[in-house]
């Protein structure tokens, strides 16, 4: 009994040093050496390419609905027969209609992380007219900007194609 206790303590100390300290430190060292941009959070233009931001007004492309609170990630967890979800979605649809946009489902359904940096290409195309009108740009110019911003599936089949909203809006700001 006492012998097993002593062995348990020795083993826990060994695993703490190996897996709890050496392993994360080694990975951090290698990550910072070879992939410093990614390891530090893919920081670009005033934000992170991977963490969505809130955009408002008709002159910017919007992301998924959500508070975009990076300090508290997470979904709304509202169930498929939730009255609250139904009311939220109805209100979002009405808000999009006021901006003259026929929203795709993703533009009114919040994401899993609450921080989704991306929208589907269809969700970006749905907003093209709104943005073009607000910026007095030809619709075709904005549309081709969206087309250039689409990221294809990785290796052609993993995940879904998407548009990164932060990248798209910074490219848009550079148009003028």
């Amino acid at each position: 009994m006492l012998l097993q206790l002593r062995r348990s303590i020795v083993a826990v100390v060994f695993f703490v040093i190996l897996c709890g300290i050496c392993y994360p430190l080694a990975e951090t060292g290698l990550g910072q050496l070879f992939f410093p941009h990614q390891a530090n959070g893919s920081l670009i233009h005033g934000g992170s390419a991977l963490i969505g931001q809130r955009w408002s007004g008709p002159s910017w492309f919007h992301g998924r609905p959500g508070p975009y609170d990076a300090a508290a990630s997470g979904a709304t967890n509202l169930g498929p027969r939730s009255r609250v979800l139904k009311e939220h979605v109805a209100a979002r649809i009405a808000r999009w209609h006021r901006l003259g946009v026929n929203p795709t489902p993703e533009l009114v359904e919040s994401s899993g992380s609450g921080l989704d940096p991306d929208i589907s290409p269809a969700s970006a195309y749905a907003q093209v007219k709104m943005v073009a009108r607000a910026r007095h740009l030809p619709v075709s110019t904005v549309r081709s900007l969206v087309t250039r911003s689409v990221h294809a599936r990785e290796f052609g089949f993993l995940g879904e194609p998407y548009v990164n909203v932060l990248e798209l809006n910074h490219a848009l700001a550079g148009l003028r």
């Binding site: 012998l3 097993q4 062995r7 348990s8 020795v10 083993a11 826990v12 897996c19 709890g20 300290i21 392993y23 994360p24 080694a26 951090t28 290698l30 990550g31 070879f34 990614q38 390891a39 530090n40 959070g41 893919s42 920081l43 005033g46 992170s48 991977l50 963490i51 809130r54 408002s56 990076a70 300090a71 508290a72 990630s73 997470g74 979904a75 967890n77 509202l78 169930g79 498929p80 027969r81 939730s82 009255r83 979800l85 979605v89 649809i93 929203p103 489902p105 993703e106 359904e109 899993g112 992380s113 921080l115 940096p117 991306d118 589907s120 990785e154 089949f157 993993l158 879904e160 910074h170």
Partner: protein, 565 residues
């Protein structure tokens, strides 16, 4: 179903076939002591532990070592979490974790459950994440694997009373299997965008929209790799695998699913090889695959359909499927694949909000757990739990033909059947009793976010998940209460150690027996007939125990057309 998703499935099957064959045979070599490239670490460590690597233990000693080691692990984790406020590597100056939450979390990580009643980014310091939680992410799957290996040895050996050396099996599991694989994949995750830094949170300001953000960071990628490989599932951030810093791309999503399935699948090869007939392992894998495939089809089809609340709000046409609570870069189908793989391996990580799945999609997630998490189940725990069902299956087969049942040449007698029955039934009994208590008292029932049948599902899911050491959640439940912290801890301890003790007792009993040579009358256990019987036993036990509870939750929810709560 899109062509891209079919290609994803095909690529997954190819990768898993390779893992089954090559990782499976590597595991055999590790546990037979033929892998030696780290013996310069092993030898001094065994001296320090005071154990002779060639001296084996009886099942009683093996179990005692496992229980005491796990007890010490719970205590150390608890103390580290409580004390994090005065310990280093705490750039956000987070306070010590409260007693109830520290109890639940330490039990959760030691039992390989990784149920989380907290949001990582606002609760855990870097030190707690690394030294308290990541260490258990390595050690708890190692314990699961060595119990499975001990049971396999029980079948493979004849007339001996030793089932292995706990300390040697533990060390070898970590240094030869879990650590090398995690080290490689953590780097891939970083290259894809998972963060890995001690730099603390970063403050950013975007001049275009005048948005300021404080973005938490940390040693995430290193935790992510072992979280999936060890079927742990506890995320660094609250959003778990949906968070772009944990799971940034379609590729990392694919690798996450591959990692969490690879060891449970490979162990069926290890099993077949060690008992001297690979076909026996193929039979077990076939039963796992049939059930996995069936529930995958249900869940993917359900999530391709529409979200009823969104449709009722005016958007009936949902071409991408139910995207509420899902990430754009993964889409509905890949998220459903992740969900089924994660719940059926007892990983419990999530790349989407399971609470927001359609009723049938949610049923598909609960089904694997209702079947005891054996398809293919957690690292080690999946194999040893399905072998209990296999014993029940040969027992039923024996009753039908009127012969003493045998499995892998071992006579299955009263003691073995009693132990297997205990191991199969202890989880459903614990889960159902605790669910009954939870919904009967205000402290349990009031924690649900959603109303109506979905609220019941949230409570039931929580206790089912913890009883299976799964850790996935219908996350709307506010679990950080005295009631759920304490009850959940009890649920996880019983679901882990009651079954482990039964399995090790079984291993001891089996190792003592001689091998009966197969004859013309032997019921063969490497045939489609046996696979069918095994699937039947798993489905029947799951349905008989959990069908009423599932009816009150997702099934009734599915049929409530037009009603919202």
């Amino acid at each position: 179903m899109s062509v891209a998703f079919l290609a994803t499935l095909a690529a997954m099957i190819v990768c898993l076939a390779l893992a089954w064959r090559y990782l499976g045979s590597y595991l055999v070599a590790v546990y037979e002591g033929r892998v030696k490239w780290l013996s310069f670490v092993e030898r001094p460590l065994y001296r320090l532990l005071g154990t002779d690597p060639d001296a084996e233990q009886s099942w009683q000693r093996y179990t005692l070592s496992l229980i005491i080691f796990s007890g010490v692990s719970i205590l150390v984790t608890y103390v580290l979490l409580r004390a994090q406020g005065v310990l280093p590597l705490n750039p956000q100056h987070l306070k010590g974790v409260t007693p109830g939450l520290a109890w639940n979390t330490s039990v959760s990580f030691v039992t390989n459950t990784n149920w989380q009643n907290y949001a990582g980014e606002s609760t855990m310091s870097y030190l707690s994440q690394m030294v308290a939680l990541v260490v258990q992410n390595f050690v708890s799957p190692a314990v699961g694997m060595l119990v499975a290996i001990a049971l396999i040895r029980g079948f493979a050996r004849r007339s001996v009373s030793y089932i292995g050396n706990f300390w040697v099996d533990l060390v070898r599991s970590v240094i030869y299997i879990l650590l090398p694989i995690s080290s490689v994949f953590a780097l891939v995750f970083i290259a894809q965008g998972a963060v890995q830094t001690f730099g603390g949170p970063v403050h950013v300001y975007d001049a275009l929209n005048h948005v300021t953000q404080t973005i938490p960071r940390g040693p995430v990628a290193s935790q992510e790799a072992i979280k999936q490989l060890g079927t742990n599932g506890g995320g660094y951030f609250n959003a778990n695998g949906a968070h772009p810093f944990e799971n940034p791309t379609g590729l990392t999503n694919f690798l996450s699913i591959l990692l969490l399935l690879s060891i449970p699948v490979a162990l069926t090869y290890t099993f077949g090889k060690m008992v001297g007939n690979v076909r026996q392992g193929v039979a077990v894998l076939a039963a796992m695959t049939i059930l996995f495939g069936a529930w995958l089809a249900v869940t993917v089809a359900a999530e391709q359909g529409h979200n009823p609340a969104v449709a009722a709000a005016g958007l009936v046409h949902q071409p991408g499927g139910n995207m509420q609570g899902k990430e754009t870069r993964f889409g509905a189908s890949s998220s459903a694949l992740y969900g089924v793989a994660s719940t059926q391996t007892s990983t419990g990580s999530a790349d989407s909000s399971y609470d927001s799945y359609t009723p049938l999609g949610g049923l598909g997630l609960m089904a694997g757990m209702a079947q005891g998490d054996v398809t293919p189940g957690g690292v080690g725990s999946g194999l040893y739990t399905i072998l209990l069902s296999a014993i029940i299956a040969v027992f039923i087969g024996g009753l039908m033909v009127g012969r003493t049942p045998e499995y892998l040449g071992k006579k299955i007698q009263a003691r073995e059947v009693k132990l297997a029955s205990f191991g199969v039934l202890v989880m459903p009994i614990t889960v159902l009793v605790l669910t009954g208590i939870a919904v009967a008292i205000p402290a349990g029932a009031s924690a649900a976010l959603n109303k109506g049948p979905h609220g019941f599902s949230e409570v039931f899911y929580a206790l089912l998940s913890q009883g299976n050491n799964n850790g996935s959640a219908f996350a709307g439940l506010s679990g950080n209460t005295a009631f759920y912290n304490i009850v959940g801890g009890i649920d996880m301890l019983i679901g882990r150690f009651a079954i482990i003790v039964a399995v090790l007792a079984l291993a001891g009993a089996l190792a003592k027996k001689g091998i009966v040579p197969a004859s013309a009358g032997t019921f063969r256990t490497d045939t489609p007939m046996f696979v069918g019987l095994l699937v039947g036993v798993i489905v029947l036990v799951g349905a008989l125990t959990f069908f009423p509870a599932l009816s009150v939750g997702p099934i009734v929810e599915q049929f409530l057309h037009g009603r919202f709560f």
